[in-house]
């Protein structure tokens, strides 16, 4: 029994490791490339790091653009949107999943519909709308429209569907109104999905390029991905700079993810009640 168990563990490790190599390879390549002078990118094997390490690409990124400011701008926007979506999406998701009200399915389909038209064609109407609000070239214009999302609402709804209904009934018997149930029981027991939506929203805002490019004119309000695009040339690929840019933008999200995913295991839903 014990022997079989450890064999299973080892094989699981092997399979997972094999897959992980596939997933990580491009990222490793980004790192090694970012540390080479352009001349050496194709003259040396891809994964070989050439010594001395060449940090020119990182110096370019930190020196040629206002990296700190752009990072702060993006961070501010991403955090506000993430917090906003966690609130609005979990609220709406709860209502769509567990409260009966007239027109619920219709309104929900309406939500879904808004996801089905490509951003390419809604970009101009969206921009016109922002002009009418006077929000062009402001962070407000990037943040407020993104405080809710059909995607997040849909995600939350799906997860709240499978929330044990005996818990809800128990709460009702105790005289909890729907808000008390949502706030005191549903949310504290939904850490995994909240962490998931949080990570997804954050990285989506963090990597968004087209919309901030259109909306923001002033350098002082620029976001990181847009700022990095100023380092690239249309005539050739400066591989080290491109890859260094990719590495520095990924790192904060990796760190965020690493900590967020711990939530996936830590929350074991109301273990007292269920055990």
């Amino acid at each position: 029994m014990l022997k079989q168990f450890s064999f299973r563990k080892i094989s699981a490790h092997l399979v997972l490791l094999f897959g992980a190599v596939f997933m990580v390879t491009p990222f490793i390549w980004s790192i090694t490339t970012s540390l080479k002078p352009l001349e050496n990118v194709f003259n040396t094997p891809p994964f070989q790091i050439t010594f001395p390490l060449n940090f020119d690409a990182y110096i370019t990124i930190l020196g040629k653009i206002n990296f700190g400011l752009f990072t702060m701008n993006t961070f501010k926007i991403a955090v506000l949107i993430t917090v906003g979506q966690l609130i609005t999406c979990s609220m709406a998701g709860y209502a769509f999943a567990r409260i009966k009200f007239p027109g619920r399915d219709f309104l929900f389909i309406l939500f879904l519909i808004t996801m089905m038209v490509p951003a390419t064609v809604t970009m101009i109407p969206n921009f016109i709308l922002m002009s009418k609000f006077g929000w062009v070239n402001t962070h407000t214009g990037l943040i407020i429209p993104a405080l809710a999302s059909a995607f997040g609402t849909f995600l939350m709804r799906q997860f709240f569907l499978s929330f044990p209904s005996d818990l809800e009934d128990a709460a009702k018997l105790d005289g909890c109104n729907p808000f008390a149930f949502y706030w005191r029981i549903l949310l504290p027991n939904s850490k995994p999905i909240m962490a998931t939506l949080g990570v997804m929203t954050f990285q989506w805002v963090w990597n968004d390029f087209q919309w901030p490019l259109i909306m923001i004119n002033s350098e002082s309000k620029r976001t990181l991905q847009v700022g990095l695009s100023y380092l690239l040339n249309e005539n050739y690929i400066d591989w080290p700079v491109l890859m260094a840019g990719s590495v520095v933008t990924i790192l904060p999200v990796i760190i965020l993810f690493f900590f967020a995913q711990k939530n996936f295991v830590e929350s074991i839903k109301l273990s007292g009640l269920k055990g």
Partner: protein, 300 residues
Amino acid sequence: MVSNKLKKKYYWKDAIWGYLFILPSMLLVLTFVFIPVISSFGISLTQWNIFGSPEFLGFANYQKIFSNQLALFTYKNTFIFSFISIPITIFLSLLLSIALNQKIKGISFYRTSYYLPVISASVAVSLVFLWIFDTNYGLLNRTLSIFGIDPIGWLTNPKVALYSVILVSIWRGLGFNMIIFLAAIQDIPRYLYDAANIDGADKKQTFFNITLPLVSPAIFFTFITGIIGSFQSFDLIYSMTQGGPARATYLIGFLIWKEAFDYLHMGYGAALSFILFLIILVFTLIQWFFRKKWVYGEEV
């Protein structure tokens, strides 16, 4: 009689709570997403080059789509893309999430690794894959050559290129679906498994009777968002193949971008989007209609 009255009272009280809960999202989504969607439907009924004033055409743009070979070909490509990539992505990421739900050492490392492709910028991903797919020097062909397989023109052969792009999209989508499924599995109450154990259910039975049903709402979600995402995906195509070779990797999201912003046929581009919209809507409604049959909790 009394119980009936009570039920009804609860119903309306609940309903008000329901409206209150959806109000913030509803206001934001309707204002900032729904209005532009309606407006772009308006645009799809016109001929509009962005700079001039739009000319009302009625449904002429839609008629044009059905006689345009490129548009039809592109829709076909998009279907192939979606029908291959979505089921494979969902299946693999479900397996992955079950594997990554174990208590083994280095689980955080594995999870982060599998999520890396999701957070990488498209441009970087595309360039890395250009290099992996390179016919002469690429990692893939070099590996295959060890087994004596002749080099394959992953991105240069029109018959293969679309499938290479599908491969990249699966690679990128795995981590995304994985964390959704992980959260779903984590959400399953322990006592259900304990109860199953007491009843003497084996692993297979537990999976099919407990795990799968309780993960089904998440599968429904990834299915719908997968369709939407793959029908609209264009940044990979844009930076990897530009639709080539010989238009073999034209996907509808890319064509819409070309028509709307490159050729300045805003109306036609919008019409292409709304045909796409109708297709997605039909799929979604079919799923919606059948969901009560296979999605847990939908009978509520």
